[in-house]
Each structure stands twice: as structure tokens, then as C-alpha cells.
């Protein structure tokens, strides 16, 4: 089994555009007719549903931002009668008021199909044992991959995250072949596996992992692949758009195919809103084409990335998105410079450190300070002042080269930075408390 829905995943670009145009016209009308908040946005922009005849008219439509979703909380964007809604999911709300997304059964089915495509692209079929270690509950991670695994017909282990020794026990006892969780949790499972004296491909038999919901680097991918003995695939999504499976990686492991029969992707200049040409770095914007309950048209993701349409060796024709460089929500502005935590992580891994770190930003005497705490083991260091100072200086230099500003490095003992079993909390910005 190579594709879950080959007729969609390998369609010609002309076919894809035709579907997108036809669906966009309907979707805009649906939102205009049923979501007063969006109707107001369109009216303010001076655009009517009949102005939208194909995807060439997409740029005429207003954007929806997280701000709008907060304003309209909780039911403002619901486009069907409540009786049609079968499920909700919610964002964690760490960047402000949470967003609640609504799903009809049709919405759930299409979302699960997207996740099924991701599982099949990672080599999964009905013979696989899929261990879902994303959190279950309001978070879309668990439910999305769980549903996708059902659609594929795999044996699904609804583990949720946490209780790592039990996760490993199930891998051993049931012979799990595919692991789905956040990359930081996958790395943690690899660490625990090693500490338990167990070996990949001997004591456990995973072949693939589908990891998403937080930024991670190529180096981290290689580390996870080694520690778990798998091929690690990236998956992308966000609650507002449906959840994981908006885009997924194929065997090439070079960017994620966006499920273009359901979503249109654009890249815009985050400052001006101008649509940027393919291959340019900017903010990713999604338009959902098949949503019943929670239509999202030109939703600004805050993710910074690049789109590229090129022939893929896997045979899929869907456009690819590069791994986001970070959410603009995660972006720190330190001494006027844009800094993404993922850049610092890249340096750490390049320099041979583990991705266990904490970034602390503060403001002292009106100057921003950047402190990076990095875990080291006793093997990483010698006990002379000279060696430790040299190591810290080398790391500080490498970070300066990457982000353009200096950081104070603190090497700390392994285990002293809190581990998370869900999303990693790696940044502490104390400046907000003062402002």
C-alpha cells in the first residue's frame, strides 16, 4: 500500500486547481451565509461571495487571525446548527484565550483521512501496530492519529502521552511498529529506553514514527531515528484548520505534502499581507475547502515557512511545505533581533549536545539578556576551569554566529532541566512580567 487515496494524492496540478476553485466558491458562500463575524470581515473588505469565481480571486478575501477567533469565542465561527456538531477540540491556550474548533461527522471523517494518508506515507497498513502517544483529550494530536490509524485498519494503541515505562512495555509486548507522538517525547522515550538497557531493533521493533505538534530540527530527527531504530516522519497541522494531517511527510523526508484537495496554502508577507511567490519565506496561510462546522478562510497560522511545488519521488503531486522555522508566536525579539528557539537547538545539536535546554530571556537595566542552560553529562566535560570555559565560549560563539547576538551559556548537570511528556517548555521570557 503506497497511497491511501492515490486518485487525490497523485492528481495532476490542473485537477487540483479545478477542485480548489470549485470548492472555494462554495466554502466562501457557506462562511458568508452562516458566520456573521466573517460576513462582517468580507463586507468591510468590500467583497461579496459572487466576486469569488476561482482560486485566482482568493487574494481578494480578508484574513482570519487568532485575534478574530478570540473575539468570536466560543461560538462565533460555528457555521452549522449545534445539533450537527459531534466533537470539539481546543488549543492549549498558552498564547492567550484558547480556541475551540467544532467538527461535524463529515469534518471528522475528512480529518481522519488526512491522518490516514500520513500513516500510509510512513509505510503503514492494516498489518501495523500503531502506538498513539500524543495526548488524548482536547488536544488534536491523539484523536487525529487515532482516527487515521482506524481508517488505515491498523491495530491502534490509544496510549496517550506519559507513563514512559508503560509505553516501552507495550512496544515490547505488542510489537508496536509505528509510534505517533511529539518529537520531544520521542526523544525522551529514546533516552528512557537506553537507561533501561534496551536496544532498538532488538528489544523493540518500531519501524517508523510520525512526529509533530512542535518545532524540531533535522539533527533531532537523526537522534530520534538512531535511538529508536526508526525512520522519523514529520506531520503538520493546527487545531484551527483541523489538527495533524494538514500536511505530512513522505519517504523523501524533504518537506511535507499539503493535502491540497482540502486546503489551499499561501505564503504572505506577515507585515503587509501581500501574497509572496512560491519559494519565498513568509507566513503560512490556510484556506479550508471542505469544512462544515468551522470554516477557516485565509487563516493566518503565524508559522514562518516556504512552499515548493516540485516533482516528488514518492509520486505525490501535492505542494510541499518546508518545516516551519518556528511560529511567529514563539519568535523572541531580543535586542531587536528575531530569534527562534529552533535556531539555538540546531546549534546545540551541531555542537554535540543533547536537545535538553532552556532559554531564559530577561531585561536588566533596559538591556535584554539571553541565557541558555544546556545539560551536559560528566563525560562531556573535564574538571579544569580552562576546558569548561573553552566549551562555554565555543558554544556562545556558535550561537552568536547563528542568531547574531550573544548568549550566556550555562552548562548544567543532566536531568536538571524539566522533561516534558507533552510539548516542551523551553523558553522563559521574564520581560513580560516587567513590561
Amino acid at each position: 500500500m503506497k497511497y491511501y487515496q492515490p486518485e487525490k494524492e497523485c492528481a495532476s496540478v490542473e485537477e487540483i486547481r479545478a477542485w480548489q476553485s470549485e470548492k472555494l466558491v462554495k466554502q466562501v458562500k457557506h462562511a458568508y451565509d452562516n458566520v456573521p463575524y466573517y460576513r462582517d470581515l468580507m463586507d468591510k473588505q468590500g467583497v461579496k461571495p459572487e466576486d469569488i469565481r476561482s482560486i485566482d480571486d482568493l487574494h481578494k478575501l480578508p484574513f482570519i487571525s487568532k485575534y478574530d477567533l478570540r473575539e468570536a469565542y466560543p461560538y462565533g465561527f460555528l457555521a452549522v446548527d449545534k445539533s450537527e456538531v459531534v466533537r470539539i477540540h481546543s488549543t492549549s491556550g498558552t498564547t492567550g484565550r484558547r480556541v475551540i474548533a467544532f467538527y461535524t461527522q463529515h469534518d471528522v471523517d475528512l480529518w481522519e483521512e488526512c491522518c490516514a494518508r500520513a500513516i500510509v506515507a510512513a509505510g503503514g497498513d492494516k498489518n501495523d501496530v500503531v502506538q498513539v502517544a500524543y495526548g488524548y483529550g482536547l488536544f488534536t494530536g491523539g484523536a487525529g492519529l487515532h482516527g487515521g490509524s482506524h481508517k488505515v485498519g491498523s491495530m491502534t494503541l490509544p496510549m496517550s502521552s506519559g507513563n514512559t515505562e508503560r509505553q516501552i512495555q507495550f512496544m515490547q509486548d505488542l510489537g508496536s511498529t509505528i509510534l505517533c507522538c511529539t518529537p520531544s517525547y520521542a526523544a525522551y522515550i529514546g533516552e528512557v529506553l537506553k537507561n533501561m538497557g534496551l536496544e532498538p531493533n532488538k528489544d523493540i521493533h518500531l519501524k517508523a514514527g510520525i512526529f509533530g505538534a512542535e518545532p524540531w530540527t533535522e539533527e533531532m530527527r537523526r537522534g530520534i531515528e538512531k535511538s529508536l531504530g526508526i525512520k522519523a516522519y514529520d506531520i503538520y497541522g493546527l487545531t484551527e484548520i483541523s489538527g495533524p494531517g494538514v500536511a505530512f511527510e513522505c519517504s523523501e523526508q524533504k518537506g511535507m505534502h499539503i493535502n491540497e484537495d482540502h486546503f489551499i496554502a499561501e505564503i504572505i508577507n506577515p507585515e503587509t499581507g501581500e501574497v509572496l511567490p512560491e519559494g519565498t519565506k513568509g507566513e503560512l496561510v490556510f484556506t479550508c475547502l471542505d469544512k462544515e462546522a468551522f470554516p477557516m478562510i485565509r487563516y493566518r497560522t503565524r508559522d514562518i515557512c516556504v512552499l515548493k511545488r516540485e516533482k516528488c519521488s514518492c509520486g505525490r503531486t501535492f505542494i510541499k511545505m518546508a518545516k516551519p522555522m518556528g511560529r511567529s508566536d514563539d519568535m523572541l525579539i531580543i535586542r531587536g533581533v528575531n530569534v527562534f528557539p529552533s535556531q539555538i537547538e540546531t546549534v546545540l545539536l551541531e555542537q554535540g549536545y543533547q536537545p535538553n535546554y532552556r532559554i531564559e530571556v530577561d531585561r536588566v537595566d533596559n538591556n535584554d539578556t539571553l541565557d541558555v542552560f544546556v545539560e551536559v553529562t560528566s563525560d562531556d566535560i573535564s574538571d579544569t576551569v580552562k576546558d569548561i570555559t573553552v566549551k562555554e565560549k565555543e558554544l556562545a560563539m556558535a550561537i552568536r554566529n547563528m542568531i547574531g547576538i550573544g548568549a550566556k551559556i550555562h552548562l548544567v548537570p543532566i536531568g536538571s532541566i524539566e522533561r516534558s511528556e507533552g510539548k516542551a517548555k523551553r523558553v522563559i521570557d521574564r520581560r513580560k512580567l516587567i513590561d
Binding site: 560528566s378 573535564s382 574538571d383 576551569v385 569548561i388 552548562l411 548537570p413 536538571s416
Partner: protein
Amino acid sequence: MRIKQVSVMVENKSGKLAEATGFLASKDINLRALSIADTQNYGILRIIVDDPEKAAHLLLEAGYLTKITEVLSVAVPDCPGGMDKIVRKLSAGGIGIEYAYAFPALEPGTAYMILRVDNNDKAEAILNS
């Protein structure tokens, strides 16, 4: 003679050293010799104890960045020029000394130097020659 020294990184903040020495005291670890080096961020507490493996294990468990290093313990005559003789010998043999500290021995007339050098084997051979 080669002995095992336990090094503990201690954050360079007031109270942190007391925290570490308090921990060692609570575990009944007797310090036979010690030295403290400081950098901007850390102090490195280097100690000689009866059971270095046990001490290192306890410290690691308590979350201290701890390392066991093999150092040389050399008996020197407790008189002017005693240390000079050793240092000259090593220097002439091309041995680099990373750090050193000394403590008096129980028997009068002798002191012990703890030396961390860049080549233990060669340094021992030179000192024994």
C-alpha cells in the same frame, strides 16, 4: 601515586558552596583535602575523600555535575624548595600542570601535593626516576 579526585561544579552564587558542603557533611563524607577554583559561572570544588566512587555517586544522584578525575598524589619534604623540586622535574620532562594543591601529611616533615597533569603515565615515570 595515582588517586581518584571528585570534582563538583558549584554555581558561583552565595550559599551554593555551603549547600554542597552541607550535603557532603550530611552523607558523612570526610574531606581529606580540597581546593576550590572559580570561574565567572562556577566554582569547581575538588575533593579527596576515602571512597570517591561512593561520594561521586551520591553527588550525581543529588543533581550535582560531578566528575571523577585521576590525579597524582606526591609526597614532598615539608621544607623550602620541596615543591620547587617536583615542579622543575615535571617541567623539564615536558609535563604540563593543569592545577595543583597541597596539604600537610599526618606525619610531620612531609606534605602531599595533588597534581593534575596532562600525562599521568609519563609524570609518574619521571617522578619515580
